[in-house]
């Protein structure tokens, strides 16, 4: 009881604001309790058995799903529902094959751009009218602006919370005290984590020497790296040219599903080949030297490097393929004389998404299910597989990029992607529970999530926005179908509307904004200059604060070491005084002070303590 009152008094006196903060959090916690209901139980089970790192994949999937749900809802309500009112009847027949090819019956449905009317829809004569052209372009435009803002803020918030300080991460102290995963609630998983931690700690203490590879070994490593890079870049180039030539030759036979399938197998085959190469490199580097047991830091450094390399190669391959496809669509399909080129692109993207979905499921089947069978029966040394977080997240980002490109050409595509994400979630969850084991090595979930969000923003969303911008501003819409038929570009719908608005005095401000802010280059130029100046100022502030932090750290070290110096000196003084009282004369010896341990950084700063605290100086003067 005495401890409790003492603790309570201390808690109240020391941090009165924590109480208030606790209240606030408690309130917001209960509010959010109901918002997370979708899959809440499932996520809890996954986090409990496999830890935070695997859980981060599923949370990322759920986050992407919310983008698709939002897009589907606004597209459906603002574009599709009015279209139903002004729909033309569909004369084509439905065979089951359309689900795979996306063509045929679906061509005359609301699924594709081509079906939408360019008329101004009105239910009654002289009633309220609904301008389909403006609705289409504004819905898609506003959706992308909102996506951009959401991504920017999430990324900034994530980066702020998980600030990556690369040189100080390899701290053992933080690894010990700050990385125990409180989420893990499964008894087996907890025991496994403890075992991993104990083996890692044991290894570090026994083998602390840095591994010095000999010159030949280093050369071999460099050659292996170069070989892997050359192979993956070569495969990327081969895949892209293959995709390009297949697409060119396919222009006449548009509904050839097999060609599309082949176009997709090739990149996936290349990806798996690159991964095999990568695994062989990794095994060469860590297992090729049976006499040296690598220390934990070295293995972790190597695995981080290998992970980054794997990610880079994968990203380069995927970006180049999407780049080639976009070039093909925008340059060749759009300029071709075929009817309704937007619908053709929409069908292409539909097929790509479908094949990607099938491959995702197959990947789960082969990568996890078969691998577990092989690992437990045929070749037991391989063991049960771990869930490959990086590869799965990159697949998600690729699928989302395709969906974003396709929104302009097929407004209901996010709905299809929504269904596919649902199925992928449950498939991955079942596969994870049955086939995988919890990850053995530390996966920096917070930093990797920030990195994946950045990937979603930078190559993915920015690329999609550029593609959409080119389509809307530069390309001529097809003559016979779609809401923008007959116009010189999709954006011409907006300029025509502005011309109409000029005749109304009430909307003069809209016209003014359009002429002077949106279409004026001077405005954007000035805006960019202002942003650059603000960025530069913030950068300088950060640099100044970094220097300040360093100086303050030195001060702490100096103050603490000065106190121990003073203590040491007073002890020597005592000894001298006692010796004198007894009658011994102690020869004058210079007391050289050394730091209590050989801290390189601390002694270094001691030698050049450029800002000794005032108290230190005064006490030294007093003693000497």
């Amino acid at each position: 009881a005495s401890m409790s009152t003492r603790e309570r008094i201390k808690a109240i006196q020391k941090m009165p604001e924590t109480m208030k903060k606790k209240r606030e959090i408690r309130n917001s916690l209960s509010e959010h309790f109901h918002q997370l209901w979708l899959w809440h139980k499932t996520l809890k089970i996954i986090g409990g058995e496999f830890g935070t790192s695997v859980l981060s994949y599923f949370i990322f999937l759920k986050w992407l799903l919310s983008f698709n749900i939002f897009s589907f809802l606004i597209n459906f309500s603002f574009i599709t529902v009015p279209q139903f009112i002004a729909a033309e009847p569909n004369n084509l027949s439905f065979t089951g094959l359309e689900l795979l090819t996306g063509a045929g019956y679906f061509q005359q449905t609301v699924l594709y751009y081509g079906f939408y009317t360019n008329a101004t829809i009105s239910k009654t004569e002289n009633g309220a009218s609904y301008n389909m052209q403006l609705a289409y372009i504004f819905t898609v435009g506003i959706y992308f602006v909102i996506c951009l803002l959401i991504l920017l803020f999430s990324m900034a918030k994530s980066f702020c919370r998980n600030f990556i300080n690369p040189q100080t991460y390899s701290g053992n102290a933080s690894k010990l005290l700050c990385t125990w995963d409180f989420n893990v609630t499964n008894e087996k998983a907890v025991k496994l984590k403890q075992k991993n931690l104990s083996t890692q700690e044991g290894l570090t203490d026994v083998n602390k020497e840095v591994q010095n590879f000999s010159v030949t070994e280093r050369l071999v490593h460099i050659l292996l790296h170069l070989g892997a890079w050359a192979a993956s870049l070569g495969i990327a180039v081969a895949a892209c040219s293959g995709v390009y030539f297949l697409s060119i030759n396919n222009l006449e036979v548009r509904t050839d599903f097999a060609a599309c399938f082949w176009r997709r197998i090739f990149p996936h085959g290349c990806l798996s080949y690159t991964k095999c190469k990568l695994w062989s490199v990794r095994s060469n580097m860590t297992n090729g030297h049976p006499t040296i047991v690598p220390s934990r830091e070295l293995t972790q450094q190597l695995s981080v490097q290998l992970l980054v390399l794997f990610l880079c190669r994968n990203i380069i391959l995927k970006i180049s393929i999407i780049g080639i496809l976009c070039y093909y669509w925008l340059d060749i399909v759009a300029e071709s004389k075929s009817q309704c080129w937007e619908t053709l692109i929409g069908q292409d993207i539909y097929r790509l998404i479908l094949v990607d979905f099938i491959f995702c499921l197959l990947g789960s089947f082969f990568g996890e299910f078969l691998r577990r069978i092989i690992g437990t029966t045929v070749c037991v040394s391989l063991g049960v597989p771990e869930f490959d977080i990086a590869r799965n997240v990159l697949d998600l980002i690729y699928a989302q990029t395709l969906t974003w490109i396709g929104i302009l050409f097929s407004p209901l595509l996010p709905g299809i992607q929504m269904i596919s994400f649902f199925i992928v979630f449950y498939t991955k969850k079942v596969s994870l529970m049955k086939n995988c084991q919890p990850p053995r090595q530390v996966w920096r979930a917070a930093q990797m999530t920030t990195f994946f969000m950045f990937l979603l923003f930078f190559p993915s969303l920015i690329g999609v926005l550029s593609v959409i911008a080119v389509t809307v501003w530069r390309l001529k819409p097809s003559e016979e179908c779609g809401p923008f038929r007959g116009l010189s570009s999709m954006f011409a719908a907006v300029s025509e509307w502005i011309k109409i608005l000029e005749n109304y005095t009430g909307s003069k401000w809209v016209v003014w904004i359009y002429n002077n802010l949106i279409t004026s280059e001077l405005f954007f130029f000035i805006l960019s200059i202002i942003f650059l100046i603000i960025t530069y100022l913030y950068w300088q502030i950060i640099e100044g604060r970094k220097t300040m932090v360093k100086l303050l750290r030195n001060q702490i070290v100096n103050v603490s070491s000065s106190f121990s110096f003073i203590l040491f000196k007073t002890q020597i003084q005592d000894v001298h005084q006692k010796a004198e009282t007894v009658g011994f004369a102690v020869p004058g010896r210079k007391v050289t002070w050394r730091g209590s341990r050989n801290h390189d950084e601390k002694t270094h700063h001691l030698k050049e303590s450029s800002m000794p605290p005032y108290s230190y100086v005064s006490l030294c003067l007093y003693i000497t």
Binding site: M3, K21, I25, C178, A445, S596
Partner: protein, 182 residues
């Protein structure tokens, strides 16, 4: 969840500042011992659940630090928690809690002897709990020395709250790992 109606006074609701969304956590608390916890909280009943019940919750039962967690958040320091303590515990361990608050409570959890410093004996106990006593005493001692060497900025041989908070900056995962989902 049940269809029974929980009863709180308006002042209590005000203090908690939620409507019936609090019920989720309250029902979890009540489910531990339905015969002890009344549905009607208007007269502020003095109900404390013993540590054994708290420690048997599925979210906590396999956590090696469950005893320390219960001790830190309980009023009497023995692990016996009132509803208030229970709500505090899960709100600090939720995603919404700021980093400083989490660091403060994590520090208190690892401080086994409650002297406001994580000394060597505290670290040894932590390491043993984290590795299920599988390391030899020599290895445990080495690990503890390494941790103090790295994290102790003011050279007093033990970690203060400021040293601990400085260390947290290097572990951005801390916010997501020091988190229990309910």
């Amino acid at each position: 969840m049940g269809n029974k109606q929980t009863i709180f006074t308006p002042e209590q609701l005000d203090a908690y500042q939620v409507q019936n969304k609090l019920n989720g956590l309250f029902y979890r608390y009540r489910d531990l011992a339905p015969q002890l916890v009344p549905l009607d909280y208007t007269d502020k009943p003095d109900v404390t659940l013993p540590y054994e019940l708290i420690g048997s919750m599925p979210e906590l039962k396999d956590n090696p630090f469950r005893q320390r967690i219960a001790e830190v958040f309980s009023e009497d320091g023995d692990g016996n928690m009132t509803l208030d303590d229970f709500l505090d515990m899960f709100s600090v361990l939720s995603e919404m809690a700021p980093r400083d608050l989490k660091a403060y409570y994590a520090f208190k959890i690892y401080d086994f002897n409650n002297d406001d410093y994580i000394c060597k004996s505290d670290l040894e106990k932590t390491v043993n709990k984290l590795t299920r006593n599988e390391l030899t005493p020599e290895e445990v001692r080495l690990v503890c020395e390494k941790v103090i060497y790295e994290a102790d900025l003011d050279n007093d041989g033990k970690l203060s709250l400021e040293d601990f908070q400085h260390m947290i900056i290097r572990a951005p995962d801390f916010l997501s790992t020091f988190h229990i989902r309910i």
